[in-house]
């Protein structure tokens, strides 16, 4: 390509600004919006795709905070709980509200809570910030059990929505839940992808890599850290609400405990911190691989080996796979995939 020398200097050559949208993303969208609902049965939609999508969304949320902005946080479960309980309160007390606006508002509430718990990030870093986020996790868990107002004085502390009212339509069927989850996840993924490519994302990455240098070049570090907490909690809140109502149907704080926080941090570590597709890979690994393992092992050994032993064997295999993948590629599976893609692009040359 030759540069046209008659151009002015300050006009960007068009070919640099040419963003081609490859065929990958549209194909994926067609696959998920059209093909899967047509082919998939209720089990696949309800128990495989919906939790996979929701956990990916939660992974995106935590990845924005930990992978891009570098703020380690173990409070993901707590922020998911905020989103779930906020949605429940909004739908129960504000009678005319439909589910998507309720989800959005609940996300904002979760974002506010995240903002508050992100304030320590101005003073403490790394490991110590993780401890303060742990405080957020336990505090939020405690709050939703201690005050009966949050679960509308029910006898058991579980929240559930009578109907999934999506602008008048009843989204309660498995197709409805699938589409609700899919639309929200696709929209928020698009937002997240653009966010990390914008100046916000670049500032976050600067803070992650060396926050002193970022402050020196003029990035308002404290503000961006708190923004990271807020945005991350927004995503986690919506993921939590979807987990409670689009997947489980009824949830209590038990579903948003410290185990959930660890699950999400595993998702982003295995998938790849600092990448968007890594969350999907990580969620598939963490949520679907145990199921696949269960199926395979059950079909071979069920009835011949003690069931408890079988379970423990599966856990051992799962742990071994995590260790193996992290040794192979400490930056996560997303990096593995990217490297493989780059080598493939050099095909048929030696790769």
């Amino acid at each position: 390509m030759t540069l046209d020398v008659s151009r002015e200097y300050d006009v960007q050559p068009l070919w640099l600004a040419d963003r081609k949208i490859g065929w990958g993303v549209p194909l994926l969208l067609v696959l998920t919006f059209v093909v899967i609902p047509l082919l998939g049965n209720e089990y696949w939609l309800n128990a495989i795709f919906v939790p996979f999508l929701i956990l990916s969304l939660a992974g995106i949320g935590l990845n924005l905070l930990t992978g891009y902005a570098g703020q380690t946080s173990l409070g993901s479960g707590g922020f998911m709980a905020v989103g779930a309980f906020a949605t429940f309160s909004l739908v129960t007390h504000v009678k005319f509200i439909s589910l998507p606006p309720a989800l959005f508002l609940a996300g904002l509430i979760a974002g506010l809570v995240g903002l508050v718990f992100g304030i320590p990030s101005g003073r403490i870093k790394g490991f110590y910030l993780m401890v303060s986020s742990l405080a957020a996790q336990f505090f939020l868990e405690w709050v939703f059990q201690k005050f009966p107002w949050f679960y509308n004085y029910g006898s058991s502390g579980t929240i559930s929505l009578p109907r999934l009212d999506i602008f008048g339509f009843n989204g309660g069927s498995s197709i409805g839940r699938y589409y609700l989850t899919l639309v929200i996840v696709v929209a928020l993924t698009w937002v997240a992808a653009n966010l990390v490519r914008s100046h916000v994302g670049r500032n976050w990455m600067a803070i992650r890599d060396m926050d002193t240098a970022a402050a020196v070049i003029g990035i308002p570090v404290d503000r961006y850290k708190i923004l990271a907490f807020a945005v991350s909690s927004f995503y986690l809140g919506i993921a939590g609400a979807l987990w409670a109502f689009a997947y489980l149907g009824a949830a209590s704080v038990q579903s948003f405990g410290i185990a959930r926080s660890f699950q999400i941090i595993f998702i982003i570590i295995i998938g790849g911190m600092g990448s968007i597709t890594g969350n999907f890979i990580g969620a598939a690994f963490i949520s679907l691989l145990p199921l696949a393992l269960d199926y395979t092992v059950q079909s071979i050994f069920s009835g011949h080996v003690d069931a408890g032993l079988l379970q423990n064997i599966q856990k051992a295999i799962f742990g071994f796979l995590i260790i193996w993948f992290l040794i192979k590629e400490p930056d996560g599976i997303a990096r593995l995939v990217k490297t493989f893609g780059e080598r493939l692009s050099a095909w048929p040359l030696r790769f």
Partner: protein, 449 residues
């Protein structure tokens, strides 16, 4: 993968798993599919393994010794859930359409949080959720919850029997006035279920009601028992489960709360709960709708055909007759008798969910039948109806003497008349919230498919 040998081995292993010729778990169309969401790993596994052993032994006895229920064999399959409601929901979605043509007539939830999570799905898919001595208490009202069965002894009845026993020990209900009764509960759907009932009974009898939660799994309880000590209660009602029970008993002893003033509920009253607590548990009482012990008629039959022939699911035959093993037997026999009831109407074939509902709603086991099936003394007579999904509501109290459980009372009936309005209020609230019209009693489709 550097060496060729390694690659070959890996490839062979992969091929072996995909082209496996070992028989997979399956069932034939003439069989009744019975999925069991179990937990053999995790903090509740010690209770769980005995429970599944009891269920599997009884189902095996039915299949092998009695040739199935009226000739229909049971195809049992287990799925691990670690007592997590999320995983039980996944298992439910996997099996709700049956397997290889065998339909699912009912689904044991094996846990109250799972019953909660599945209550709407069960109603939508028309599969009865069976949770003896557990479940969502409002679902006793079968008109609003046609597909949820807190069989035999719901949580309000448990609270009521506990209070009735305390009154018995104090010398009358009037003596309860002013007494302090603390409930230490596992902070989950299971632990909180009794709160409303205890509150109602506290208002009725005038005792002071304290509720102290223990966060899951409850391996450290010093702050809670310090609080209990400050209150200086007359009685403690222990509503924990899993590892939190022995920890509670030990911590209570450390803080000077005597074990003979602690009453555990159904799920806090097994050998796995008291043996780890050691000497601290001597004198501890528990509700026993199904007492422990291996001297009942059914145990003789099982001993002869299952235990002694080595076909038992129990790893350690010492636990034959333990409380959780008997719980498994009871769960299994309720299901089997319900299926038998269903066969009288629909014929001797595998039943689906709707037919299972009819079967459970018309389940009736009287003393004569109990004697015939060998459960006299172990299971109380039970009679269900479309408006009453509980059917029993009585328990005995057993006390641990350091070596075994001894029954110290006769059957104590729960105060169901006082509790029924509370149940109906809650089920009406649920019906209103979800827009359900309570079905007329007895109105079921009763037809196949």
């Amino acid at each position: 993968m550097r060496s060729f040998l390694l690659k070959t081995i890996l490839a062979a292993a992969l091929a072996g798993t995909t082209l496996s010729v070992l028989p997979a778990a399956h069932s034939a169309p003439g069989e009744q599919y019975v999925p069991l969401p179990t937990y053999r790993v995790g903090p509740y596994a010690s209770s769980g393994t005995l429970w599944w052993a009891g269920e599997r032994d009884y189902f095996r006895y039915i299949n092998e010794v009695e040739g199935g229920i009226d000739g229909v064999k049971l195809a049992v399959e287990e799925f691990e859930t670690e007592w997590s409601p999320d995983r039980t929901v996944e298992v439910y979605e996997r099996i709700k359409n049956g397997r290889d043509g065998s339909p699912v007539a009912f689904f044991f939830t094996h846990g109250t949080p799972a019953s909660y999570a599945l209550i709407e799905k069960g109603a939508a898919d028309k599969i009865p959720l069976i949770d003896p001595a557990g479940g969502r208490t409002e679902s006793t009202d079968g008109k609003v919850f046609p597909y949820a069965y807190p069989l035999l002894f719901n949580y309000y009845s448990q609270a009521s029997v506990g209070i009735n026993y305390i009154a018995q020990k104090e010398g009358g209900f009037d003596k309860l006035k002013g007494k302090k009764i603390v409930t230490v509960y596992h902070d989950s759907a299971y632990g909180r279920e009794t709160q409303a009932a205890v509150e109602l009974l506290a208002k009725k009898y005038g005792f002071e009601n304290f509720q102290i939660p223990v966060a899951d799994p409850g391996s450290e309880q010093s702050p809670q028992w310090r609080q209990v000590r400050e209150i200086k209660p007359d009685w403690v009602f222990l509503r924990t489960w899993g590892v939190s029970t022995p920890v509670a008993i030990k911590t209570a002893a450390r803080f000077g709360v005597p074990a003979d003033r602690i009453i555990g509920d159904v799920w806090a009253g097994s050998e796995a709960d008291v043996i780890p607590a050691g000497a601290a548990a001597k004198g501890y009482q528990a509700l026993a709708p199904y007492p422990g012990g291996a001297n009942f008629e059914i145990h003789e039959r099982l001993r002869k055909s299952i235990l002694d022939t080595g076909k038992s699911d129990l790893k350690d035959p010492k636990f034959f007759g333990a409380v959780y093993y008997n719980i498994g037997l009871i769960n299994a026999v309720l299901a089997v008798e319900a299926l038998r009831t269903g066969h009288t109407k629909f014929g001797n074939r595998p039943l689906n969910g709707e037919e299972g509902r009819w079967a459970f709603e018309h389940l009736e086991i009287d003393d004569a039948r109990l004697k015939k099936i060998g459960f006299l003394g172990l299971l109380q007579p039970i009679k269900l109806s479309p408006s009453d999904h509980e059917g029993g509501g009585a328990a005995r109290i057993q006390q641990w003497d350091g070596e075994k459980w001894n029954l110290v009372t006769d059957w104590i009936q729960a105060d169901r008349e006082t509790l029924r309005p509370l149940i109906e209020a809650k089920s009406a609230a649920y019906a209103k919230e979800h827009g359900i019209t309570p079905s007329d009693a007895g109105k079921t489709t009763g037809k196949a498919e």
